[in-house]
Amino acid sequence: MPDKSSTSTADGDRPDESTPLQFDDEWEARASERLSETEFDTELGIELAKDAQRVVAGELSERAFHEKHHDAVRDEFGEDARLLDAVLTEREESDEGEGVASRVSSLFEDESSRREFVKKGGAAGMGLSMLLGSPDAGSASTAPAEDADAEDTRLGMVINLNNCDGCLECVTACKGLHGTSRGAHWIYVMAYTDPDLEHENFFVRTCMHCANAPCEKVCPVGARHTREKDGLVLTDYDICIGCRYCMVSCPYGANYFQWGDPDSPRQNDHFTHDERDVWVDGPPPNGAMGKCTFEPAWQDGQAGEKLVGTTMCEMACQRDAIHFGDLNDPESDPNQHLEEYRANHPNDRSEFEDRNPDTVSTFRAMEERGTEPGVIFIGNEPSVHAEQVEGPVTYEDKGLIDDRKSEILDDGPAGDDDGGELA
């Protein structure tokens, strides 16, 4: 399990930033085993790998890295293609170090010598490509997700569908926090099959907090609005007339109407009202509309510093699937996760250097609808032929089935005398 507090992309353990990287015996044993399979020096390989990680962690400069092993690499492989000067010059000239990879690979005059390098590279090659992979941020695949006016805060998510396993913890946690009624799943996880995909996949549907939200445009009374501070799309529960036009206009099905009295009504506390003192969270009152909010009260610091910049579903997810934060900030959780994940899924460019640097696919759901959604997905986009199926954990297992209607309608239109839903 990746350690979220670490900024390192590697396996080294790092209690805090001031202590040097430690490599435990288990790691050394693994590296040793893998490297001994190659025809080259295992010790050198291990040293190169360790130092490569140190460079990434900022403990060692690139120049020092190249200088340190230059002779040994040349002796072992017959050449040292890690051109120090070229690397340094390129880095100074461009912010993102674009072109480093092409600079290095242009050293090889023909295919065969590239292939030789790959075969000989072993762990060194691995370390190098990691090093070269991350600075190649000029291309779209590693660019941080930036939307519209990059100066503004835009809270959104990167949801890694490859990491999701349908455990439904996020769904349960969200319901627990917000007190939404049965059947109202502000976050909803769907397992689905797709003819072109071999395995079951998952789709996690929150509200997309669109920058061009149709729900906000169509609201006749201005209850559905976008918060200027951070782009959250919220519903003013005091104004909403319950016309349900927002639900009708939303392409994603993110809205949930309060058809009867809430199971756990909640009002007038620091969670339900944000810093503008607008009632925007918790279950809506009977007759109004609710949906995923990204916890505006938390973002406003009303629940303490620790909960700023996170959401309940992100906290509940143990699979590293949900990442919430400012999409316009390259250092935010979602952007960091994107960067890390791309770095961890490099493409094989040893033979063909023009290939995409990583094999990571991202998408925003139903983007062609023009909504400008604020959730970026890593993984496969469900095709038109995708069909939802029961996942490994069912909603029934979690006690999340909606049985509100039967309670009222079974007794006929007269309903039960108290007029409320039974909790």
Binding site: A184, P214, V218, G222, I241, W259, D261, Q388, P413, G415
Partner: protein, 436 residues
């Protein structure tokens, strides 16, 4: 002048009370009362007592019969202006005897449309307090707010038209009108003098002009279809064809409504000469024309939706075609159209009662088509992953009773108003030379 077309004839509803009248009032009040009892349940428990639900993971339908009926009543309301415009702007005097009835139908129908909005929203208590202060900002964006604006305008323009034109009648018939309603007449006649007639004639001409531009083109062929066609979410709602399509249905149902009301009054008050058969034959031809337009525009949507359409549109159209209820609706209109065509070929076949019954069928058919449009649209969104979608939707008893109640309200409106003012214009029984 024969007695059949004298001023006395148009006063007959005001001067007579029959047992049939009282019985009708009783039935109408019962229908309204039944619905009120069920509506009270809805107000107490919330909309959970209907069969509506969230679209998406809950596989429900958030807009159903309430919205279908809302659209239907706004459509029927268009009859008023079509008739008045035909008479005033185009000089089609044949329809003058039914012009005021049609205008009254507009007022009643728009009231019912507004009632369905009240019934439909989750927080009716906020319908004014949230909407009115938000109007200045939200009218710039929300199609629903445009809707509210144009319906209010249409209602107010038609009511103004009625209030201005009725003054001529009341002035000339004052002595023969019941004393009990004298306060009402006084109010209606505020600041009246005979010199105003020519001025008011011109003013109502311009009123008719404003309405005929606004109502068909910008209300039922405008903001109402735009409620649906402007959205990015539902596959079956898209396209510029929605405007003309909705308008064709509105005009079809509007003329049907007038035929029914005119037939009922004609039969109840012995108005065979006042509203001659020629009026119904003419209305039938218009109904035939509008029905043809409706069917033709359905064809447009079907063919563009099944030939080589994008997957979601193709799917939505195929669903529409596979729905038996859709064909019932189409069939009800086709039957009326065939009858009308037959009577054009063989005039002797024409019978007002048959035409009235077939018009009721057309009204039912247009209500079904509009409700299906709303419901099936919501059952087939562009986003197709939700397993439960489409979920089933059958209107609940509270929703169905509201249909009966609004029909009853329209009936009640006519039953009341016809006792106070003449429902046939005095102009219709005066000499044509005098009027012009």
């Amino acid at each position: 002048m024969s007695t059949g077309t004298s001023p006395e004839a148009i006063l007959r509803p005001i001067h007579t009370y029959s047992r049939r009248y009282v019985a009708t009032v009783a039935i109408v009040l019962a229908l309204i009362g039944f619905w009120l009892f069920l509506y009270a349940q809805q107000l107490q428990h919330g909309l959970i007592v209907t069969n509506l639900g969230d679209w998406g993971s809950s596989a429900g339908v958030p807009w159903g019969l309430y919205i279908g009926a809302f659209i239907w009543w706004v459509g029927i309301a268009h009859g008023g202006i079509i008739l008045s415009a035909a008479v005033r702007l185009l000089g089609l005097d044949t329809y003058q005897p039914v012009a005021r009835m049609a205008e009254l139908l507009t007022i009643a129908a728009l009231t019912c449309a507004g009632l369905f909005i009240l019934i439909h929203v989750g927080r009716p208590d906020r319908l004014v307090t949230s909407v009115v202060p938000a109007w200045p900002t939200r009218v710039q964006w929300s199609p629903l707010m445009w809707d509210v604006t144009v319906i209010t305008a249409y209602f107010v323009l038609t009511a103004t038209y009625l209030l201005l034109t009725v003054r001529y009648d009341i002035h000339r018939l004052r002595e023969q009108l019941p004393d009990a309603f004298e306060p009402v007449y006084k109010l209606l006649m505020v600041d009246y003098s005979e010199t105003e007639d020519a001025v008011v004639e011109r003013m109502v001409w311009w009123l008719a002009f404003a309405i005929i531009i606004m109502a068909p083109l910008l209300l039922h062929g405008g903001v109402i279809p735009w409620l649906f066609a402007l959205l990015p979410s539902m596959a079956g709602w898209e396209g510029g064809v929605q405007g003309p399509s909705f308008l064709s249905i509105a005009l079809t149902s509007a003329v049907s409504g007038i035929i029914v009301i005119a037939a009922v009054f004609r039969s109840a008050y012995g108005w065979e000469e006042l509203i001659p058969e020629a009026v119904f034959r003419g209305l039938a031809k218009w109904l035939g024309f509008f029905s043809l337009m409706f069917l033709w525009l359905q064809l447009q949507q079907v063919i563009t939706g099944v030939f080589a359409a994008p997957t979601t549109l193709q799917h939505a159209t195929e669903v529409k075609l596979a729905t038996p209820t859709y064909w019932v609706a189409i069939g009800l209109v086709v039957v009326a159209l065939l009858y009308i065509f037959a009577t054009v070929l063989r005039p002797s076949l024409f019978d007002i009662r048959v035409m009235a019954v077939l018009s009721i069928g057309v009204l039912l058919g247009t209500l079904i088509e509009k409700t299906l449009f709303v419901v099936e649209g919501l059952q087939h969104a562009h986003f197709q992953l939700y397993e439960g979608v489409p979920g089933p939707y059958i209107p609940s008893i509270v929703e169905l009773s509201a249909i009966g109640a609004t029909v009853a309200i329209v009936a009640m409106f006519f039953l009341s108003v016809s006792k106070v003012i003449p429902v046939v214009e005095l102009h219709a029984v005066e000499d044509e030379e005098e009027v012009n």
